[in-house]
Amino acid sequence: MRSLFISLLLLTGAFGAHAQEPAATSTEEVSEETTYAETIEIDSGFLYYTTSTDVGGALAASAHDTDGDGQLDVWFTYVDGVAASEAHDTDGDGQPDLTLTLAADETVTAMEGSGAAAFTPPPAQQFVPPADAAPAVPQDLVGDMRDITIAEENKAWMFFLILFVVAAALYFFWKRQQ
């Protein structure tokens, strides 16, 4: 069992071999999928807990107590040995309340939950542009003949500047005539 555990860790690249002897070990098997659960306590309570199915011999999930409070706070899932998601308990209640999905293209999607192991998409956010925002106009910036919409530079100040200059010029011209 210990060698299997270590080989699982090496397979995933999540851990190297641990020199310390496990202080406590428990194993449970579940019908079709064999789930291995092992707890290793090291030094002052750094706890490893891993679960895995034996399908393909790859690690399917692992969980860890990274802050040493005795309960798990980070849960990983793996697909083909690659981390696919990680869930975090950020408020210390033992339940995941933040999950990050790690896509193959290295993008990360974060989703917050209530702490009851249930996650809901974030509410749609409405963007309210400022009152003096310039209007959006379609332009082709890169010359690929595709229209994109960008905000046009606000040139209202330039209109008022020209108006002021013209008015000032007319005023001085009128004063010189008198």
């Binding site: 397979l11 995933t12 690249g13 999540a14 851990f15 190297g16 641990h18 090291i42 030094d43 002052s44 309570g45 750094f46 860890h64 990274t66 802050d67 040493g68 980070v74 990983f76 040995g81 690659v82 981390a83 696919a84 990680e86 975090h88 933040l98 990050l100 790690l102 290295e106 990360v108």
Partner: protein, 71 residues
């Protein structure tokens, strides 16, 4: 931090930490983990979560790519 089976995660946490004059205990306290977690990360025995990697990078004000390199 996702990585393939054959990928190796090179960590520079220890060198960056020492350059900043920060102890493992101080770093652990700052990012909310145990010193053992920091030790495991520095030894390459534990691949930190994205969240933890970002916290460490933010603590040292460096890009996360400077701390962890997939080779």
């Amino acid at each position: 931090m996702s990585m393939s089976n054959r990928a190796h995660l090179e960590t520079h946490v220890q060198s960056v930490r020492k350059a900043a004059g920060v102890t493992q205990e101080q770093l652990a306290l700052a990012v909310g983990v145990t010193r053992q977690t920091i030790i495991s990360i520095e030894k390459g025995n534990y691949v930190p979560s994205v969240l933890l990697a970002l916290k460490i990078a933010a603590h040292f004000s460096v890009p996360v790519e400077e701390l962890f390199i997939i080779s």
